[in-house]
């Protein structure tokens, strides 16, 4: 980083590469249960704050399974969260916007989901809701793209005459939150690898 005059300690040079490899390996073997335990209150609050700022209480983190066939919800908030965090729901990685963001690695905001047949209706159908708008952001930690952070606006029966949409600023806020969570996850994983979490 420019301006920061800290030079790497040569004694750590070989350990640094080893640590990086170990971090990748640990990340490769993370299952959904382990991930949930990694998500610290700081990470959760960072995410919830970003959702709140974007004007929604409905959001989730999705983690790719070991085969890459599916994305599984590992964290959720909002009134329907318990219904899809039941350990059973899986999103096939060949359909839907969340999978698309996982494929491209690029953040994305969609404001007219309900008008489009390309949207995967799996989760909406299961929860009995109708998604109106969605933001999906790549979550890269432990040296790989491993998941997605998403939030949605749901349609409601009470029509207030206003469509619920997300803005470019909401997208940027969620990207920032995703990057912050990734840093926290990396730090927690490194602490575990180094044994700093013990005792």
């Amino acid at each position: 980083m420019g301006g920061l005059s800290i030079s790497p300690n040569p004694e750590f040079a070989s350990a640094a590469q080893h640590l990086r490899n170990e971090l990748t390996s640990v990340g490769d073997h993370l299952d959904t249960g382990s991930f949930t335990r990694l998500l610290t209150p700081l990470a959760k609050n960072t995410l919830l704050g970003a959702f709140r700022k974007a004007g929604t209480s409905h959001g989730a983190i999705w983690l790719a399974d070991s085969t890459g066939d599916h994305l599984a919800p590992v964290f959720g908030c909002g009134e329907h969260a318990e219904d899809f965090l039941n350990g059973k729901f899986r999103l096939p990685t060949d359909q839907g916007l969340i999978s698309m963001v996982f494929a491209t690695g690029q953040p994305f905001c969609e404001n007219e989901i309900h008008t489009n047949p390309g949207h995967s209706p799996l989760l909406d159908r299961q929860l009995g809701v109708s998604t109106e708008a969605m933001i999906a952001i790549p979550l890269t930690f432990a040296n790989r793209l491993r998941g997605i952070v998403s939030c949605v606006h749901l349609s409601t029966n009470e029509s207030d005459g206003e469509s619920k949409t997300f803005s470019g600023e909401d997208l940027s806020d969620l990207e920032l939150a995703s990057a912050a969570i990734a840093r926290i996850l990396d730090l927690v994983l490194i602490e575990h690898i180094l044994g700093w979490q013990d005792g």
Partner: protein, 258 residues
Amino acid sequence: MADSHTPVWIDPAKTRAALASGTGRGVRIAVLDSGIDSTHPELGDITLSDNLCVKAEGGMISVHEGDGADVFGHGTAVAGILHKIAPEAEIGNFRVLGAFKEARSSVIRAGARLAIDRGYDILNCSFGCPGRAEFVMSFKSWIDEAYIRGVHVVAACNNQDYSIAEWPAHFPSAISVTRTAGGPEELFFQAGDLVEFGARGEEKKAAWLGGGTRSVIGSSFSAPRVSGLLARLLSLHPKLPPLLAKSALRTVAEAWPA
């Protein structure tokens, strides 16, 4: 000393003129993405010069001609924006996204090399791979090949934090683009980072699957705007090498919007 075969610097006036009047005629753009639905009304008069899918199955890379159907809608949206900006540019569909089980970077590399071999002028890359050391050589091999052979690489990037490396956007020979505000054909420039260019990331009616449209926002939709503008430039100044074209765009781009 320059001879008649050596491309020369295009001054800002000529660059502006080309961006204003170019149509993309004679320029070939490879869309490395999720596929393209060429029957979409927004792409009405388009004929894909290639329509294929690159897959990795059982450790083997294979190319499937005629199998470029869009699996998400993303590539169709990218092609729709390209077509609006450079309506006479030739578009090739190279589906490289959507394969998760095998190494994605090797599929992208195979698709990019194929596009280079087939004579495309621009590779539009509305995707990003985490900029880790383990992936760098896979990307460097084809990005360097593109540079040497005079093929332009336009890439979307991580636009939250420019210091976060992503491939291919963080290769200096690529034209790296982030999402900004601004009009649909405006180009912005900011020195000091590998990500130097900005373009509008919002598209109110992006072509999507099923013949419909979507209101979308993302850096993925900034890159094709710049690819389209580059196609306009190249349509009047063909054979302009990547670094000269990038420099020419720098000279005419506006200051980064707040």
